[in-house]
Symmetry: D2
């Protein structure tokens, strides 16, 4: 995703040199990720082969959500055996981050979300503790880490507002990392960050796109873990919608009712 | 420097459990680094043995300046052979960062400083290009990197104001790192940073104290390089002062006249 | 353990400059690890503080066995989430290696041991498969890895004979690592290794002492995982002996009856 | 080079699914590297684009020799600023390894070769010391490293005989690495290696193919360094031959007369 060629995947049609999606002669922009459609045209550069036994609903989650969260913990924060990890925001991406952190051997995974349903689900996905806010997480993290704080904090809220950074950074131990995964408002130019203690504690703020994953190797890696029952993907699908119900899907998303909702063409 | 025990080095007297510096019964705070004195009392935890052939003026630079800059490039940015590195602020710490980046094999090292004298010195220390400001560095970096921008940008200005971060981050390539080494105002709580492109480009903002160095291994490492003529340390000393001239030393520091000034008790 | 100072820990008495263990005026050699005694004299350099709630039988395992095996997987092989790991030899060290690999997120852990009891225990410690020999493991590893072979193979047999290396290396995938942890005969100067495919496949043979661990940070790390029930240490103790039974302990060790036997002074 | 797809590059014709080189209907095997020809047919998977200003004689060296040696030091040994590196065998690959180690900031680079001409050239390529044999190198390395020995030893002799490994490993410091780059006889199944001290010193034996390089990023990286005069490539070409002189080229190779000989079609 970081190579210059890869950027073209974001182009209309996701093709190397030609826009492949048209409607009445106009080029359609498809975000490069998907089109809520049964068929699509994609560049061979944008395609990852999966095995036939992988259910398509599970595979659909790996286009962004699962790899983005799992990779934030595994590839970007590089959670190690015995670490303390905090995941802020436990929707689809955060639920995958919780699983990634736990799978990498984190001693504690603290899930932070204001929605009780999402906290409950996070505990099912492997979180050891939950808190309703960053503020509520601080004394908890202090206590269970014996004052050492978190090795890694993964930011996966719905929107990455700049004033979340400093409170989240206060959860991070000396030498630890804050992973900025969620999408920030494009028009936002300021963040709260106390640079003095940040530098003096040798902390890291790590931007993260698509979980810093290599799709060609990491999608198959995650799907092999799924096959062995080591990562819960079906369980991340809260609701299935017919295409006609798509607007209800967006409402549920906004209302915090879903870990993940999918359009299921078999319904 | 990151261990909990290490923090005690900052205590008055730099001793494990006792304040060792007193004046008329009052404990003196010595900043843990030095005291402009010929003799001092230090904890064995705060002492690094050096060989007898190392001149003390050279050794004095390694208490902070040299390791902080050199380590910012070598340990924290992990500059690799062929990289493009930018060093913003070319006083003592920056001059050491320039040398570290060049020594690690950087293809280009762009020195940024408003003071012509410091840019000239940076070129002597191994910078391949120089610019008077971050703004002036941008088109230069774009051109010489063929649009790929810098693998690493090291921030070593006199003060790390928060509004320097975003312009400096715009010099950083996808997947690259901005190292925040300089001291920021303690009362500063905001920085300029466009989180959206920062995350989408998988960039890193890396706080850095004492060059992320291990004093026990890195001070001897640097001094061995000095002995082989691979790092210029004597050349970093612009002016030598007698103790009585210390206030002139501070004035010269503020006026940008020195790469490094030292109190020389032999004068 | 790799520093020059650390080597002194192996000296008689394990003290910095003085032999502390004597008998009738003769210096006693204590191997630096332990003395089957209730009290000992140790250098402060050789001591790691543990918390009061840690049972001493559990702590005793961490002097060598647990850290050596766990660290072989976690620190030296750097097993990653989704990897395939093989552990050859499933006594105490191997049982800890199995747990380390599983804890680090290995998709499969294949335990290899000729003794059925040890294979059974390995499965309890988290191995997903077991085989009676390296030869029997090969088709198994080929099959479950879809022909890609193992990311990491950890060698923890009772003795590391040189003719084990090539067969074990054939279990290792391109770019993978074979960790040589077990003690080899000092008089052995040859090993079997086909250098041509070894180099052409960019494989690694990694010597490993004490699990490439840092005792000061890794012993507390493992004991915190123990406290959370994430690593099984009590379960590694097969038999407890009174000091008078020490020779039976050695017999059981040789007969392959123990994962770990300990001298328990409370019996 | 390590991916499964990449292996196909070694196939006849270096094409994805078809043999492209024929003579009178027979498929020709072209070793995947080159054909001493002015034109060739290659799979797009086996092609790396270079800029027009790069001379073809320089580019020709990067198909194997330069990247193999340079990458052995930079990518595989990961030579760091201040390290001590030894390069055993200073033909084309070794000369590139010497340059890689120096470029990465090695404090000392000791070139080992029985041929005086090659030792002289190695010193021109940046070696700081030279020795005629591994045995002669040992006291030299001991002395200049103050007894700490070498961080990295790169093995680039004409043939990697198994009895070279132990003497070379004795040059390696605790925690250091021996990189096995040269091609070993396929029929050789034994190497000399004292496993006991190897494991007890946490050393590494690292197989290395094509310098553990990524051709798509590392060939351009090296050529950019060439453009800046940071790596000497023209200087590695000792003799240029016309195609008719190819057998003399092989004789000179065997007689140790060349760092690198090339067929130059412009002669």
């Amino acid at each position: 995703m970081l190579c210059d060629l890869g950027m073209n995947i974001q182009n209309p049609g996701a093709a190397r040199d030609l826009a492949r999606h048209h409607y009445n002669g106009d080029v359609l922009y498809t975000f490069g990720l998907g089109t809520f459609s049964e068929y699509s045209i994609a560049s061979e550069l944008a395609v990852v082969k999966i095995e036939e036994d992988i259910p398509l609903d599970v595979a659909a989650l790996c286009g962004c959500c699962v790899l983005t969260g799992w990779g934030s913990s595994v590839n970007r924060a590089r959670v190690k055996v015995g670490d303390v990890a905090v995941v802020v925001g436990c929707g689809g991406v955060g639920s995958a981050a919780v699983q990634g952190a736990r799978m990498a051997g984190a001693r504690y995974v603290i899930a932070v979300d204001p929605v009780p349903f999402k906290r409950e689900k996070a505990l099912e996905f492997g979180a050891t503790h939950a808190a309703g806010s960053i503020e509520a997480a601080l004394p908890l993290v202090q206590q269970i880490s014996w004052g050492e704080l978190a090795d890694a904090v993964i930011m996966t809220p719905s929107t990455l507002y700049g004033d979340l950074i400093q409170p989240a950074m206060e959860l991070v131990r000396k030498g630890g990392v804050l992973v900025a995964t969620a999408v920030a408002p494009i028009s936002q130019h300021d963040i709260k960050l106390d640079l003095f203690p940040f530098a003096m504690s040798n902390k890291t703020l790590a931007g993260c796109v698509y979980g810093t994953s290599n799709p060609r190797s990491d999608i198959p890696r995650v799907l092999k873990l799924y096959r062995e029952g080591r990562i819960k993907l079906k369980e991340m699908i809260t609701t299935r919608y017919r295409l006609e119900e798509i607007n209800r899907g967006y409402e549920d998303l906004i209302d915090g009712k879903n870990i993940r909702g999918i359009i299921d063409f078999s319904l």
